[in-house]
């Protein structure tokens, strides 16, 4: 009877203690979450490193899951494509004839271009190395727009490099781990890219706003932009090489200029990271002047493949 009483007493005491402990834990976790938000503002570099290392650790798992979904979508697409084979075959023949004409023209222009370069003693811009990588995670949404690639420092991916598909620019490398890299898409709220509106060479900044159509800002006053004008990277700021196709002016509504991007990362399972030998926004390249030939020395003493 006495033992039963004491057990009941312990039980009666344990319950409120447990409840208080649970409430305390809950409040402590909520406070910790707010502290995390604050800490992210105080030391973003540490937070970014932490994020990169966790993403790196999860890369093998993301690799497997993304391959699985990719296979499912590919299979579904193949079934659809099989249905449309006859129709698309005719279109492809037509397109091929048109492309052959363009090829002839391109060859003629290439020869002409080379001859003009020789005449001007033109120093060609550096050649890019491509690092092809697969998209293993896509976090594009209403609040953040980024993708994760299955290539990182091990494959020479560096922070600040441009990521493109066959159609054009999709974003820049914002974080690199050993096996993974995060690409901040040009549609993201935090993305700012210096661009040129062709053919009039108007400078502007392409700013993402989390919608599919980023906007152009910081144009010189009094400049009128027309619908359909092509936009390429300007190369200013040393982040991106100049001339990468970005998109075209979709609409001009008073001060709001919207851009339709050429590239849609949703259509590509692979992207290419461009390595121009520049170190982008984080490690600015050191220039060593040489009277014979300019040579770019990267941080760490590694010479770039200038050619």
């Amino acid at each position: 009877m006495g033992i039963k009483d004491s057990a009941g007493l312990v039980g009666n005491l344990a319950h409120p203690i447990k409840t208080v402990a649970q409430r305390f834990t809950y409040v402590a976790l909520v406070v910790s979450s707010f502290c995390l938000i604050m800490f992210g503002r105080i030391d973003p570099i540490f937070v970014e490193r932490f994020r990169v290392s966790i993403t790196d650790g999860l890369t093998p798992l993301l690799n497997v899951t993304s391959r699985l979904t990719s296979s499912i979508f590919t299979l579904a697409q193949e079934v659809i494509d099989l249905n449309n084979t006859r129709k698309s075959n005719g279109l492809l023949i037509e397109e091929n004839n048109r492309l052959l004409k363009w090829q002839a023209l391109a060859k003629r222009l290439e020869v002409e271009n080379k001859a003009l370069h020789d005449l001007l003693n033109f120093v060609p811009s550096r050649k890019a190395n491509f690092i092809a990588a697969r998209i293993i995670a896509d976090t594009s949404g209403a609040f953040a727009n980024s993708v994760v690639l299955n290539a990182g420092k091990n494959e020479s991916v560096q922070k600040g490099q441009a990521a493109v598909t066959g159609e054009g620019l999709i974003g820049r490398v914002s974080g690199v781990g050993f096996r993974s890299a995060r690409i901040l898409l040009v549609t993201d709220l935090n993305s700012r890219i210096p661009v040129i509106i062709q053919p009039r060479k108007i400078r502007a900044i392409l700013a993402g706003d989390n919608s599919n159509y980023p906007k152009l800002i910081h144009l010189s006053p009094g400049i009128n932009v027309e619908q359909g004008e092509k936009i390429v990277t300007s190369g200013h700021g040393g982040v991106f090489p100049p001339g990468l196709p970005v998109g075209f002016v979709k609409s001009v509504d008073q001060s709001l200029i919207k851009v339709r991007l050429f590239a849609d990362h949703k259509r590509a399972s692979y992207v290419r990271v461009l390595d121009y030998g520049t170190s982008g926004i984080v490690e600015m390249p050191l220039l060593k002047l040489d009277p014979q030939r300019p040579t770019r020395i990267l941080k760490g003493g590694k010479k770039s493949n200038e050619d």
Binding site: V30, F39, I54, G141, F143, S146, L184, N210
Partner: protein, 171 residues
């Protein structure tokens, strides 16, 4: 032999499955989707998972698990660390405090409850993200995400309930 091992294994699976399933939902929410013309907005799967377990089995997804899930969600989704973590914890706290209200109610009532909680949580994320980015984030995409998540909740909720019942029968 089978009869003696099943309850043990079933019990263990039952205990860990809310956490594992919600973690899987975090991973599922970042899977690349290759559909042409798809607007690129995914339903908030993690939020659905947290809400579901907070309603039906809060003891199996304690606050520290919610914190961990929120943290992983923030890391993988590229959010500032802590944003979704705090939102998930608040949802968890609100829903578990209303446990008596949800207990024994029809799925439609739970769905309506989810609609309210979802609106509140999206509003919280919107406020936090707008403050952190010092700009107002566009609302139309968020509305689309709200409708998408709300519309898909019955599908996921039904699957999770079936899984719960399947395990309970065997424990």
């Amino acid at each position: 032999m089978k009869t003696s091992t099943w309850p043990l294994a079933g019990n263990l699976i039952m205990r860990v499955s809310p956490f594992i399933i919600t973690l899987c939902l975090v991973l599922a929410s970042i899977l690349p989707i290759y559909i042409q013309g798809y607007p690129g907005v995914l339903p908030l799967l993690t939020l659905m998972g947290v809400f579901h377990w907070a309603v039906y089995k809060p003891a199996l997804l304690p606050a520290y698990s919610v914190f961990f899930i929120g943290l992983i969600h923030d890391i993988l989704h590229g959010f500032p660390l802590g944003v979704n973590t705090v939102v998930f914890l608040i949802i968890f706290g609100v829903v578990t405090s209303q446990h008596r209200f949800f207990f024994g109610k029809s799925f439609t009532v739970v769905w309506i409850g989810f609609g309210i909680v979802l609106a509140g949580s999206i509003l919280m994320i919107w406020i936090l993200m707008s403050l952190l980015n010092s700009t107002l984030i566009k609302v139309p995409i968020i509305l689309f995400q709200y409708i998408l998540t709300l519309g898909l909740y019955p599908v996921l909720g039904w699957c999770l309930l079936r899984w719960q019942k399947f395990l309970l029968k065997r424990v």
